[in-house]
Symmetry: C2
Amino acid sequence: MSDVPPRGFPVGEYERRASAAQAMLAEQRLDALLVCTEPEVRYFTGFHTPFWQSPTRPWFVVLPREGRPIAVIPSIGGASMGETWIQDIRTWPAPRPGNDGVSLLATTLHEVAGNEGRVGVPMGPETHLRMPLADWEDLQEATIDVTYQDATAVVKSLRMRKSELEIAKTAHVCGIVSDAFEGIPGLLAVGMTEREAFAAFRIDLLQRGADDVPYLVGATGPGFDDVIKQPSDRVIGEGDLLMFDTGTVFDGYFSDFDRYYAFGRADDAACRAHETVWDATEAGLAVLRPGSTTSDLWAAMADVLDAGGSLGNDVGRLGHGLGMQVTEWPSNSSDDDTVITEGMVLTLEPGLTWAPGCMMLHEENVVVREDGPELLSRRAPRELPVIA
Amino acid sequence: MSDVPPRGFPVGEYERRASAAQAMLAEQRLDALLVCTEPEVRYFTGFHTPFWQSPTRPWFVVLPREGRPIAVIPSIGGASMGETWIQDIRTWPAPRPGNDGVSLLATTLHEVAGNEGRVGVPMGPETHLRMPLADWEDLQEATIDVTYQDATAVVKSLRMRKSELEIAKTAHVCGIVSDAFEGIPGLLAVGMTEREAFAAFRIDLLQRGADDVPYLVGATGPGFDDVIKQPSDRVIGEGDLLMFDTGTVFDGYFSDFDRYYAFGRADDAACRAHETVWDATEAGLAVLRPGSTTSDLWAAMADVLDAGGSLGNDVGRLGHGLGMQVTEWPSNSSDDDTVITEGMVLTLEPGLTWAPGCMMLHEENVVVREDGPELLSRRAPRELPVIA
């Protein structure tokens, strides 16, 4: 396992993020950027807490055309935000349902963007507005002179390309998860229930140094098509397949890859499917370099899946971006066409249906370097591994 | 520890939820209810997966005036949704950024609500619309004849009052967490870092049978005012206070309570603060019964905090609802005024600042019974416990 990377980021990282966003605001003639979801707030401020799971309070960050972001947040977060590089922290005693930050945010936007200002808000794919819809309407009324414009491209283009400090966190957690997957033959056995297997694997990941395992899905059986499943009391038997897919985190950065095992013996068709998805990943790796597109990646993998007799899959794409969230922009799909650049962290995730009701996904995590992909997950074996 | 409650819910539970919501739709002359967030979709369907952490795909459930809910979801969720009581499952191959379910949802709404129909959508406090804002605008355009109206009251009033089957899940996880808190003196010691302490406690909770620990915050030191903090490399020393606050889950239902410990010796002021927040909780418990209000609860606890010399707190309320989310409606605040009914699961969470920069929160979880509160968390000791 690699050395543990440092926690958090130096202020310079946040300065670069803010400056890069501000350059795009200027290009788009936007006076400010408004964000309100966990990854965007964390990206610009470093504010990092699981408190976002509480739906009660909205949180806002306003990035002006110059200078540091301004936090407009519930008072419960003031102390935590005070530990970040943010200097201008405006709080209100949330929850206050009649006016949960709306007037404070309106004042801030007027101050920053001026009257008749233009404010960017992410409104496009993979974004949402984390505030009550009625509050959004109140805000628009309180800032009737302000024009709100979609700024998805600003956060998307920035977040897609990772810094070396971000990559080191993902690489570290991918190492932990690779070790844990390789340890499965010693951890799981026929006779355990799915629920026991999930618990053992989750604990093992934490014992190996992961901060948390927010995403763990899996299934057992001769075959299965539910690839986002929670465990049942089903007992693992001889001849079963096992799939685990986990988004495990270190310092707020995710891994996202899966592995398959067979218990006792492996079905021929399952073995062939495993080799096909592995080969498809090889084909993806072969075309992955700066300048190729996500749709090139998709095509290279889809060709191998088709040749391998795929009956299709329900996932809608063959991989995606990875970072502060378990899935991020872009999508490896037929029409995504995002141009791949150095520093992108991606999953390659070819999937096929190898028999009715039997889907197999295979996933690896990579970072794009000048000369091609660098694997962050440890490459799976081509042959479906069998636990004796 | 209590026996492990059964997983999931029988169909009758979902039928009751749907019927109760449909009665409210009729009262409000709404033709359908549209929900798109994890807890609401799970509440009406039983669809349960951590896949919601992926922001890529929107998910929709439409509850008509009669009959079962209709799922309008990405194809990747079709197999999982097929395991629930939902029969009408409409899928599209998401992600499809140009039209990510919008036209399928528009067709469904027209079919269910008719032309010029009225559709309820949660728009009020503690809700948000989990779909891109641009898609929401597209949907409104594609259903220009449909009136969308705030339906927060429908989901809020239903979800606030828990069934016995829901309560059993919360009670079970509260038992696990109570055991784990009581085990802290044997688990943690001076010389550990905060990070080591967090990891040990998280693993201990899982080993005791929790499904997951999505929410864990805490701090150590002579005093602290950041109550939503992630761990640092600070080493626990003699005379330190430790606070852990966890939202741990069993079968998708949360506990939410905290505990304090002192290492070696306890500061007098900290001891007095602990007794004050404990006494405030007693005062809350004394007035908690069907017919009293959340503001009565707030007043009873606030009086004790004031008398105990509180310098205020930044939390904005003294407890809240608890269930599928770590915080839910209602709020124990001065002006919330929600009438308490049997079956509500609440936290009592009095907090005070006992010295500048030193906040203490105390939390217990209760269910409201005909004759008053029943504790779900095991009551903390009044005296601040000291680990020798």
